[in-house]
């Protein structure tokens, strides 16, 4: 298995926040940037400050983790550009985790134990949402019940046959922007709460990468670090 004592994780996949997490052995340092007008500008500076606090050089890092999308295009590309450059110079692997899965992981672990499913919705522009449905596997890791997708709020897909008897939690700001449409689509489900102020965090991405990507050897090299846009094309 690839050595992974020291990992740097980034998230800038949503408009509202960006974050950096640094794992050194079992200790995790975490910084969240909430200034949505400038957080992308400060991402590299935050990385440098965190590394300096821990007296680490780039050569000390064993790899990188990021939330690869879906999400805001510019934000995803800022994180991708930083990691391309860092992976290129250090020759260290990069682990990509779905933005929606990262959100679901925290929601599922923190929720009432009766909650079995999480419905994640992020606004995608053009009256669409990025949509994911997640549950926990035996290793307490969030797993998708269907592929993350781009959908109209009026017609978000649900996995067949497994949802009606499960207690569900709704997260993501898409539930604020399209609450009525999404609730109507999920009318048959036992939805106990809606938490729109729920954003992805780099430390959760780190956790998923360590527990899932690393054991499975799911990593990419610098040139393969590309956002998962989900929008096949934006030109009309």
């Amino acid at each position: 298995m690839i050595k992974a004592n020291t990992l740097l994780a980034l998230d800038s996949s949503v408009i509202q926040t960006a974050s950096v997490a640094l794992q050194v052995h079992s200790e995790i340092s975490y910084v969240c940037l909430n200034d949505q007008h400038h957080h992308r500008e400060k991402l590299l500076l935050t990385i440098e400050q965190l590394m300096r606090q821990k007296s680490l050089n780039l050569t000390d890092l064993d790899g990188f983790v990021w939330t690869s999308g879906p999400g805001t295009f510019i934000g995803l590309r800022v994180a991708a550009s930083i990691l391309q450059a860092l992976s290129f110079t250090t020759h260290k692997p990069v682990y990509a985790v779905s933005t929606l899965r990262v959100m679901a992981q925290r929601a599922l672990l923190n929720a009432n134990p009766t909650v079995r499913r999480v419905l994640v919705a992020i606004s995608a522009g053009q009256r669409r949402v990025y949509w994911g449905v997640y549950g926990l596997n035996d290793q307490k890791l969030a797993c998708s019940l269907q592929d993350d997708c781009l959908a109209l709020p009026e017609s978000v897909p649900l996995p067949e046959g497994t949802m009606q008897d499960q207690t569900c939690l709704a997260i993501g700001e898409g539930w604020l922007a399209f609450k009525d449409s999404l609730k109507q689509c999920c009318a048959d489900l036992h939805l106990i709460d809606i938490q729109p102020s729920f954003f992805p965090r780099a430390d959760d991405a780190l956790h998923l990468a360590v527990e899932d990507c690393l054991p499975l050897g799911k990593w990419v090299s610098a040139e393969e670090i590309l956002p998962n846009y989900l929008y096949p094309t934006v030109a009309r």
Binding site: R40, L44, T90, A235
Partner: protein
């Protein structure tokens, strides 16, 4: 002097090697410029095929292409220049003006790479880089002042370059850029995108006097340009023709349009020479590859006993070489500032050229 200032001293001699990154619009350009050996490598990936189906640049697609191809291009130029990362002493990147998504890719990558390699990152003004391109070798001396006609798909401006870093825009388009007008007329005539080169080829087969087209602002006292009215006139002219329009008529329209557009450019250059008494003229930008424009400018320069500096055809469109070269000029003239160590990632989409050394 140290690498921290964009230099290294090797056996007592100054060494400087700049990696230039250009991602302001729809071409990804990377190059390496060396202080003693000049341009070592220059690679450009044109996105023309990506945008051709849409007849113009789609900003989001441009950004997606940049992030996919920037790193492979950097690897390519490093290999072509036979250059090791330890030999690169500074990284220059286009910080504006341009499309925000495109600029952010290059700026973020450049800043991060410079931090990782512990060298300065130099933000460069895209239009300043264009106007210095005719001097992009170590033999040609840059003599100020000069007048620069910058013509592309995004810009049409006349700049009075008084000294290095002191630029005054003395005229610019009040509406469409001249390259944009070329693209739109080309699309009307059924030519592929980008429209400049095919329109020029078609124009060579036509008669420039076949149709009388307007030269907006030709007699205006300012040095500003306008191409929107000319474009509309061409569209109206096209509709009046027997449909389908024959190839011969299309060639006449292309030729008449090209002549009108270039008449407007020439007129303002002539007035600028008279007004400023500056006897050096530089032309740069994508449209500066147009042979008819180059010929007409040569005639103008001769008539006014002026020196004309034409951009090498390889560097008319956006490229990393001009970015690396401009940073080299800044570094050799001690324009190094603390900002190059600042890790905040900033771009300026509307950066004006008169502030080009103030980022």
């Amino acid at each position: 002097m140290s690498k921290d200032r964009g230099f290294t001293l090797i056996f007592g001699k100054l060494s400087m090697r700049v990696l230039g990154i250009e991602t302001s619009c729809d071409d990804t350009g990377v190059a390496i410029f060396d202080a003693t050996r000049g341009l070592l490598a220059n690679c450009v990936r044109s996105q023309a095929r990506t945008h051709a189906p849409y007849g113009g640049i789609v900003p989001e697609l441009a950004s997606r292409d940049h992030i996919q191809y920037l790193l492979p291009l950097i690897k390519q130029v490093m290999q072509q220049a036979d250059s090791d990362p330890s030999e690169i002493t500074a990284i220059a990147y286009t910080a504006g003006p341009g499309l925000v998504g495109s600029l952010m890719v290059g700026a973020t990558f450049a800043k991060t790479l410079a931090w990782a390699w512990q060298i300065p990152a130099i933000p460069i003004h895209h239009m300043e880089a264009h106007l210095l391109t005719p001097f992009l070798d170590l033999k040609t001396q840059i003599n100020f002042p000069f007048l620069a006609l910058l013509v592309s798909g995004g810009h049409t401006m006349l700049v009075h370059a008084k000294s290095f870093g002191s630029y005054e825009v003395i005229g610019e388009s009040v509406d469409d850029a001249v390259g944009e007008a070329f693209d739109k007329v080309a699309k009307l005539l059924g030519l592929p995108y980008p429209g400049g080169p095919p329109l020029e080829r078609l124009a060579e087969q036509g008669n420039p006097n076949a149709f009388q087209l307007p030269r907006p602002m030709y007699h205006h006292t300012t040095l500003n340009f306008s191409f929107s009215g000319l474009k509309t006139s061409v569209m109206q002219l096209y509709k009046k023709q027997d449909q389908p329009v024959s190839d011969a008529v299309k060639a006449d329209i292309a030729s008449s349009f090209q002549c009108a557009a270039i008449d407007s450019l020439l007129r303002k250059c002539e007035v600028a020479i008279k007004k400023t008494a500056v006897k050096r003229l530089v032309i740069a930008g994508g449209v500066s590859a147009n042979k008819y424009l180059r010929t007409r400018l040569e005639q103008l320069a001769k008539a006014y006993s002026s020196t004309l500096h034409l951009t090498d055809l390889a560097f008319c469109t956006d490229n990393g070489a001009m970015i690396a070269y401009t940073a080299y000029l800044q570094l050799t003239r001690s324009y190094y500032k603390k900002r190059s160590r600042d890790l905040t990632i900033k771009v300026r989409t509307n950066w004006i050229i008169s502030d080009s050394h103030d980022f």
